[in-house]
Subunit: 99 residues, 2 copies
DNA sequence: AAGATATATCGACTTTTCCCGATATATCTA
DNA sequence: TAGATATATCGGGAAAAGTCGATATATCTT
Protein backbone atom coordinates (compact mmCIF):
# COMPACT_ATOMS: atom_id res chain seq x y z
CA UNK A 1 0.00 0.00 0.00
CA UNK A 2 1.58 3.25 -1.17
CA UNK A 3 1.11 5.72 1.62
CA UNK A 4 1.33 8.78 -0.56
CA UNK A 5 -1.35 7.43 -2.88
CA UNK A 6 -3.64 6.65 0.01
CA UNK A 7 -3.23 10.10 1.48
CA UNK A 8 -3.88 11.66 -1.91
CA UNK A 9 -7.07 9.67 -2.20
CA UNK A 10 -8.13 10.93 1.20
CA UNK A 11 -7.24 14.54 0.38
CA UNK A 12 -10.68 15.37 -0.95
CA UNK A 13 -13.80 16.27 0.92
CA UNK A 14 -16.13 14.31 -1.33
CA UNK A 15 -14.04 11.16 -1.28
CA UNK A 16 -13.85 11.31 2.50
CA UNK A 17 -17.62 11.69 2.63
CA UNK A 18 -18.17 8.71 0.38
CA UNK A 19 -15.99 6.62 2.63
CA UNK A 20 -18.05 7.79 5.57
CA UNK A 21 -21.35 7.10 3.90
CA UNK A 22 -20.29 3.60 3.00
CA UNK A 23 -19.60 2.89 6.63
CA UNK A 24 -23.30 2.65 7.29
CA UNK A 25 -24.99 2.46 3.93
CA UNK A 26 -28.47 1.75 5.31
CA UNK A 27 -28.34 4.99 7.25
CA UNK A 28 -27.08 7.05 4.36
CA UNK A 29 -28.91 5.72 1.35
CA UNK A 30 -32.52 4.86 0.53
CA UNK A 31 -33.48 1.20 0.53
CA UNK A 32 -32.29 -0.88 -2.42
CA UNK A 33 -33.00 -4.19 -4.01
CA UNK A 34 -29.72 -5.54 -2.77
CA UNK A 35 -28.35 -5.92 0.70
CA UNK A 36 -26.22 -2.80 0.93
CA UNK A 37 -24.20 -4.15 3.82
CA UNK A 38 -23.26 -7.15 1.76
CA UNK A 39 -23.09 -5.88 -1.80
CA UNK A 40 -22.65 -2.16 -1.49
CA UNK A 41 -24.26 0.93 -2.94
CA UNK A 42 -24.55 1.65 -6.63
CA UNK A 43 -22.83 4.57 -8.33
CA UNK A 44 -26.08 6.35 -9.06
CA UNK A 45 -27.02 6.56 -5.40
CA UNK A 46 -23.66 7.95 -4.47
CA UNK A 47 -23.81 10.33 -7.39
CA UNK A 48 -27.18 11.64 -6.25
CA UNK A 49 -26.03 12.18 -2.72
CA UNK A 50 -22.76 13.85 -3.56
CA UNK A 51 -23.53 16.93 -5.56
CA UNK A 52 -21.14 16.27 -8.40
CA UNK A 53 -21.52 14.87 -11.89
CA UNK A 54 -21.74 11.18 -12.59
CA UNK A 55 -18.38 11.14 -14.31
CA UNK A 56 -16.67 12.79 -11.39
CA UNK A 57 -18.15 10.36 -8.92
CA UNK A 58 -17.24 7.41 -11.08
CA UNK A 59 -13.70 8.71 -11.20
CA UNK A 60 -13.60 9.25 -7.45
CA UNK A 61 -14.80 5.74 -6.82
CA UNK A 62 -11.99 4.45 -9.01
CA UNK A 63 -9.48 6.46 -7.06
CA UNK A 64 -10.73 5.00 -3.80
CA UNK A 65 -10.82 1.53 -5.25
CA UNK A 66 -7.25 1.81 -6.44
CA UNK A 67 -6.19 2.29 -2.84
CA UNK A 68 -8.09 -0.82 -1.89
CA UNK A 69 -10.23 1.00 0.64
CA UNK A 70 -13.37 0.14 -1.30
CA UNK A 71 -14.25 -2.62 -3.71
CA UNK A 72 -16.86 -3.11 -6.39
CA UNK A 73 -19.26 -5.75 -7.61
CA UNK A 74 -21.05 -5.56 -10.90
CA UNK A 75 -24.59 -6.87 -10.92
CA UNK A 76 -26.45 -6.38 -14.13
CA UNK A 77 -26.11 -2.81 -15.19
CA UNK A 78 -25.17 -1.61 -11.74
CA UNK A 79 -21.82 -1.39 -10.08
CA UNK A 80 -22.00 -1.57 -6.32
CA UNK A 81 -19.26 -0.20 -4.15
CA UNK A 82 -18.64 -1.03 -0.52
CA UNK A 83 -15.87 -0.51 1.96
CA UNK A 84 -13.17 -3.07 2.34
CA UNK A 85 -13.06 -3.07 6.09
CA UNK A 86 -9.94 -5.17 6.22
CA UNK A 87 -8.06 -2.68 4.10
CA UNK A 88 -9.37 0.17 6.22
CA UNK A 89 -8.11 -1.59 9.30
CA UNK A 90 -4.78 -2.20 7.71
CA UNK A 91 -4.53 1.46 6.82
CA UNK A 92 -5.19 2.40 10.41
CA UNK A 93 -2.46 0.07 11.51
CA UNK A 94 -0.15 1.59 8.93
CA UNK A 95 -0.91 5.07 10.18
CA UNK A 96 -0.28 3.95 13.71
CA UNK A 97 3.32 3.20 12.81
CA UNK A 98 3.94 5.61 9.98
CA UNK A 99 2.70 8.59 11.84
CA UNK B 1 -8.20 20.06 12.61
CA UNK B 2 -9.27 20.03 8.96
CA UNK B 3 -8.93 16.46 7.78
CA UNK B 4 -8.52 17.32 4.14
CA UNK B 5 -5.68 19.69 4.93
CA UNK B 6 -3.93 17.09 7.06
CA UNK B 7 -4.21 14.47 4.34
CA UNK B 8 -2.91 16.94 1.76
CA UNK B 9 0.05 17.65 3.97
CA UNK B 10 0.74 13.93 4.21
CA UNK B 11 0.33 13.42 0.45
CA UNK B 12 3.98 14.00 -0.27
CA UNK B 13 6.89 11.64 0.05
CA UNK B 14 9.30 14.23 1.37
CA UNK B 15 6.94 15.57 3.98
CA UNK B 16 6.23 12.06 5.18
CA UNK B 17 9.95 11.44 5.42
CA UNK B 18 10.50 14.59 7.42
CA UNK B 19 7.81 13.53 9.84
CA UNK B 20 9.55 10.18 10.17
CA UNK B 21 12.97 11.68 10.66
CA UNK B 22 11.70 13.94 13.39
CA UNK B 23 10.42 10.95 15.27
CA UNK B 24 13.95 10.07 16.26
CA UNK B 25 16.08 13.07 15.47
CA UNK B 26 19.23 11.75 17.13
CA UNK B 27 19.15 8.75 14.85
CA UNK B 28 18.54 10.75 11.71
CA UNK B 29 20.65 13.85 12.12
CA UNK B 30 24.21 14.57 13.13
CA UNK B 31 24.81 15.86 16.64
CA UNK B 32 23.85 19.48 17.29
CA UNK B 33 24.45 22.16 19.86
CA UNK B 34 20.89 21.84 21.05
CA UNK B 35 18.99 18.91 22.48
CA UNK B 36 17.19 17.71 19.38
CA UNK B 37 14.67 15.76 21.39
CA UNK B 38 13.72 18.89 23.24
CA UNK B 39 14.18 21.71 20.76
CA UNK B 40 14.09 20.02 17.39
CA UNK B 41 16.18 20.04 14.25
CA UNK B 42 17.07 23.14 12.29
CA UNK B 43 15.91 23.75 8.74
CA UNK B 44 19.41 23.44 7.31
CA UNK B 45 19.81 19.89 8.61
CA UNK B 46 16.51 18.83 7.16
CA UNK B 47 17.34 20.59 3.93
CA UNK B 48 20.62 18.72 3.64
CA UNK B 49 19.02 15.38 4.26
CA UNK B 50 16.07 15.84 1.93
CA UNK B 51 17.41 16.42 -1.52
CA UNK B 52 15.43 19.54 -2.31
CA UNK B 53 16.19 23.23 -2.23
CA UNK B 54 16.14 25.25 0.93
CA UNK B 55 13.09 27.19 -0.16
CA UNK B 56 11.13 24.05 -0.86
CA UNK B 57 11.97 22.55 2.50
CA UNK B 58 11.11 25.76 4.28
CA UNK B 59 7.76 25.72 2.51
CA UNK B 60 7.16 22.06 3.38
CA UNK B 61 7.91 22.70 7.01
CA UNK B 62 5.33 25.46 6.97
CA UNK B 63 2.77 23.13 5.48
CA UNK B 64 3.40 20.59 8.19
CA UNK B 65 3.35 23.23 10.86
CA UNK B 66 0.02 24.56 9.63
CA UNK B 67 -1.49 21.16 10.37
CA UNK B 68 -0.05 21.30 13.85
CA UNK B 69 1.87 18.07 13.42
CA UNK B 70 5.15 19.89 13.97
CA UNK B 71 6.06 23.07 15.75
CA UNK B 72 8.98 25.47 15.60
CA UNK B 73 11.24 27.37 17.92
CA UNK B 74 13.51 30.15 16.82
CA UNK B 75 16.86 30.30 18.56
CA UNK B 76 19.20 32.90 17.23
CA UNK B 77 19.41 32.53 13.49
CA UNK B 78 18.09 29.00 13.53
CA UNK B 79 14.57 27.73 13.43
CA UNK B 80 14.18 24.31 14.98
CA UNK B 81 11.32 22.06 14.11
CA UNK B 82 10.10 19.12 16.11
CA UNK B 83 7.08 16.89 16.14
CA UNK B 84 4.11 17.80 18.23
CA UNK B 85 3.46 14.36 19.61
CA UNK B 86 0.18 15.36 21.15
CA UNK B 87 -1.14 16.55 17.81
CA UNK B 88 0.11 13.38 16.15
CA UNK B 89 -1.73 11.33 18.74
CA UNK B 90 -4.86 13.36 18.27
CA UNK B 91 -4.66 12.83 14.54
CA UNK B 92 -4.39 9.10 15.05
CA UNK B 93 -7.44 9.20 17.24
CA UNK B 94 -9.27 11.23 14.63
CA UNK B 95 -8.37 8.73 11.94
CA UNK B 96 -9.50 5.91 14.13
CA UNK B 97 -13.02 7.30 14.09
CA UNK B 98 -13.10 9.12 10.79
CA UNK B 99 -11.79 6.25 8.80
C1' DA C 1 28.05 49.22 10.54
C1' DA C 2 29.43 45.37 7.31
C1' DG C 3 29.56 40.95 6.06
C1' DA C 4 28.24 36.22 6.95
C1' DT C 5 24.83 32.77 7.82
C1' DA C 6 20.04 30.81 8.36
C1' DT C 7 15.47 31.06 7.12
C1' DA C 8 11.36 32.92 4.84
C1' DT C 9 9.06 34.77 1.04
C1' DC C 10 8.22 35.88 -3.89
C1' DG C 11 7.60 35.06 -8.76
C1' DA C 12 7.65 31.75 -12.20
C1' DC C 13 7.12 27.44 -14.51
C1' DT C 14 5.61 22.60 -14.68
C1' DT C 15 2.83 18.90 -13.16
C1' DT C 16 -1.21 17.27 -10.87
C1' DT C 17 -5.82 17.52 -9.28
C1' DC C 18 -10.58 18.96 -9.62
C1' DC C 19 -14.41 18.89 -12.13
C1' DC C 20 -17.12 19.11 -16.14
C1' DG C 21 -19.59 17.71 -20.70
C1' DA C 22 -19.56 14.48 -24.33
C1' DT C 23 -19.20 10.01 -25.71
C1' DA C 24 -18.34 5.04 -25.41
C1' DT C 25 -19.56 0.58 -23.42
C1' DA C 26 -22.30 -2.78 -21.04
C1' DT C 27 -26.54 -4.60 -19.82
C1' DC C 28 -31.48 -4.83 -19.69
C1' DT C 29 -36.09 -4.84 -21.72
C1' DA C 30 -39.43 -4.87 -25.13
C1' DT D 1 -32.43 -5.71 -32.63
C1' DA D 2 -33.60 -0.91 -30.83
C1' DG D 3 -34.00 1.86 -27.26
C1' DA D 4 -33.34 2.78 -22.39
C1' DT D 5 -30.51 2.94 -18.38
C1' DA D 6 -26.10 2.67 -15.62
C1' DT D 7 -21.40 3.24 -15.58
C1' DA D 8 -16.80 4.20 -17.46
C1' DT D 9 -13.68 6.74 -20.13
C1' DC D 10 -11.86 10.70 -22.72
C1' DG D 11 -10.57 15.49 -23.53
C1' DG D 12 -10.24 19.81 -21.60
C1' DG D 13 -10.13 24.21 -18.76
C1' DA D 14 -9.35 26.10 -14.20
C1' DA D 15 -7.23 25.78 -9.85
C1' DA D 16 -3.82 23.90 -6.75
C1' DA D 17 0.59 21.77 -5.63
C1' DG D 18 5.55 20.89 -6.53
C1' DT D 19 9.69 22.91 -7.10
C1' DC D 20 13.07 26.12 -8.31
C1' DG D 21 16.16 30.49 -8.23
C1' DA D 22 16.37 35.05 -6.60
C1' DT D 23 15.72 38.04 -3.02
C1' DA D 24 14.22 39.75 1.53
C1' DT D 25 14.65 39.48 6.50
C1' DA D 26 16.62 38.27 10.90
C1' DT D 27 20.40 37.37 13.60
C1' DC D 28 25.27 36.83 14.61
C1' DT D 29 30.09 38.21 14.52
C1' DT D 30 33.65 41.30 14.07
Amino acid sequence: MDQVEVFKALSNKTRLMILQWLKEPELNFPPQEVDMKEVGVCVGQIHQKAQLTQSTISEYLSVLQRTGLIESTRIGQWTYYKRNEEACQELKRLLETSL
